[in-house]
């Protein structure tokens, strides 16, 4: 790794990890520490996976859509996944596999709706994509609200699933299933890393990529499917968490990285660290937990404004 920043980021990540895992640990009674550590350790891994997946999927989408302002949340993919998850939790109570399947199916549906909206709109593509994503988001969030009003049970936790919460109750007997899912997530991230050279070509110019033998369309669909897969899994664990995938790759681009491989590596580390930090804040800032989406949106709003401003000046 050539850049010095990477090691700085890595240090930052380890520092936050240390704090996250050890905070207030000494205030607990010794015989309960082990249990609490298990609980926290599971959540720590969930945080890391969330950060990694959201940032990689965001940066991949920014390349394949050739638009720096998209991520799975903006395009409505997360909204579709949440709808599928809510549907499955009503009809198949708590079955993990079915909920993952449902959220995957509905996030595919959401992305199809979003894409078809944007294709049928005339005008600047960078803006029509965002608008169609907005429409899809409205559609699916109102469907989720409708579902949870009709079925009385889920209405209390609706708020936390719509703003995202990492307070996920792990079941030890399901450990193998979690490992299985985690393995597939890691596999999908590797697939993206392998494709990073082709993504470099695409991000420079689609025509040049075509002439040098990169099948742009095929890559587009494969990578979109991978992103949808990743996002739907994470959403069915944590709920919708927005903007992480948009902000972090852009910040790294602003700081001077251009190669996609470098952007991926850096943004994975920063994404994981940022989600850990946000979860830490959401856990301990009040006497009770607040949704992590609230924390992330509040803190990232100035950055978001900056990114939008820079990108629209180049438009």
């Amino acid at each position: 790794m050539k850049n010095k920043n990477f090691f700085f980021y890595l240090l930052f990540f380890f520092l936050i990890s240390y704090f996250y895992l050890n905070f207030r640990m000494t205030s607990y009674v010794i015989d309960i520490r082990r249990e609490i550590f298990y609980l926290r350790f599971f959540r720590y891994f969930l945080c890391i996976f969330t950060g990694i997946v959201l940032t990689t999927s965001g940066s991949v989408m920014q390349v394949i859509f050739n638009n720096p302002l998209v991520d799975p949340y903006v395009l409505g993919i997360s909204g579709g996944a949440l709808f599928g998850f809510t549907l499955s939790s009503i009809f198949f109570r708590g079955n993990l596999f079915v909920s993952l399947l449902f959220s995957f199916i509905f996030s595919i549906l959401a992305s199809l709706i979003s894409l078809s909206f944007s294709l049928s709109l005339k005008g600047e593509k960078k803006i029509t994509v965002l608008l169609s994503g907005l429409l899809t988001n409205i559609l699916f969030s109102s469907l989720v609200i409708l579902l949870s009003i009709v079925s009385k049970n889920n209405s209390t936790s609706l708020f936390y699933s719509m703003m995202g919460s990492l307070n996920y109750p792990f079941i030890r007997t399901n450990l193998n299933f979690y490992l299985f899912v985690g393995f597939f997530l890691i596999l999908s991230i590797f697939l993206i890393l392998i494709k990073s050279k082709e993504l470099d070509m695409i991000s420079i110019n689609e025509e040049i990529a075509k002439t040098s033998g990169v099948d742009v369309k095929k890559n587009f669909y494969i990578l979109l499917l991978v992103v949808i897969f990743q996002t739907s899994i994470i959403v069915s664990f944590t709920g919708v968490i927005g903007f992480v995938g948009m902000i972090i790759p852009n910040i790294i681009k602003i700081s001077g990285q251009t190669k996609n491989r470098e952007i991926f590596f850096n943004s994975i580390i920063i994404g994981a660290a940022l989600v850990l930090l946000a979860d830490f804040i959401s856990k301990y800032s009040f006497q009770y937990e607040i949704p992590i989406g609230v924390v992330l949106s509040l803190f990232s709003l100035p950055l978001l404004f900056l990114i939008v401003k820079i990108n629209f000046e180049n438009l």
Binding site: N153, N167, I171, Y288
Partner: protein
């Protein structure tokens, strides 16, 4: 000699299993009930909304009404966790995973309050003198009644416009007192959203406001008998009493009798 030892151990075991119960109460009304039934010293965790009686201040907060901090719950090592109509699927999986006993005590209307209290004492099984519950039952039986069959509307919130029905806590007391409350067809929810058309057809004689926004009185001015309607505004403490179905039922019955009869 040996037999004696075994007996001592048995007594010790019994003592530990009965008297060392550590309770986490995740609903304000259950906390009040536990203190009323003198189990207060066993509570080791509460929600951020539990603020009555004042002794609860020393107890650790482990969550809000709908979101609970699992680490904190685990850290106080509870034996029993109480909910009241707010058991989320997440909390359920967590408690089943950690093998902690949990109970969802439904205390919404006046009969459920008494049943809930009995349920709690049964769960915490202690040879218990039921005088405290009996006083509540007696008080409920002796509610003063009015015979004019007046119509009463309890406005819980202004925006959205939500009113209490007979299934709610305050509604069940009022209906025992002989008042008529709004009813929306098949709906048996304690609190329902209401529209102004419903108000016009209901024609209330008395309106109680369970929120602090006093200007919401103005919107009833188009009702035909506006000047005859009795408006009652509750203060913050009274609202707390009426929104928590628990042992303060004695207080709330007294209050309603003072206000209305």
């Amino acid at each position: 000699m040996k037999l004696k030892n075994i007996n001592i151990f048995l007594i010790l075991f019994f003592y530990i299993s009965v008297f060392s119960q550590r309770i986490v109460s995740l609903a304000p009304n259950v906390t009040e009930t536990l203190f009323y039934l003198s189990y207060g010293d066993k509570i080791v965790g509460r929600t951020s909304y539990c603020d009555f009686p004042p002794e609860v201040k020393n107890i650790k907060i482990v969550g809000s009404f709908i979101e609970f901090n699992f680490e904190d719950i685990l850290s106080v090592k509870p034996d029993i966790v109480f909910f009241s109509n707010n058991l989320t699927p997440k909390a359920k999986t967590f408690l089943e995973e950690e093998k902690i006993r949990y109970f969802d005590v439904k205390m919404e209307n006046i009969t459920q309050v008494v049943e809930g209290m009995r349920e709690i004492t049964k769960i915490l099984d202690k040879d218990f003198d039921s005088t405290k519950i009996d006083t509540i039952v007696k008080r409920i039986d002796n509610i003063k009644k009015q015979n004019d069959s007046l119509k009463i509307l309890v406005e819980v919130s202004q925006q959205p416009f939500i009113v209490a029905t007979e299934e709610s806590y305050i509604g069940s007391i009022l209906s025992r007192m002989g008042f008529i409350l709004p009813k929306i067809g098949y709906n048996e929810k304690p609190y329902v959203t209401f529209s102004f058309e419903n108000v016009l057809s209901f024609k209330p004689d008395i309106i109680i406001f369970m929120h602090g926004y006093k200007k919401s009185k103005n919107k009833y001015s188009i009702l035909p008998g506006y000047k005859k309607i009795k408006f009652i505004f509750l203060d913050h403490q009274q609202i707390d009493v009426f929104s928590r179905p628990g042992p303060r039922i004695l207080e709330s019955i007294d209050l309603l009798e003072d206000l209305l009869l």
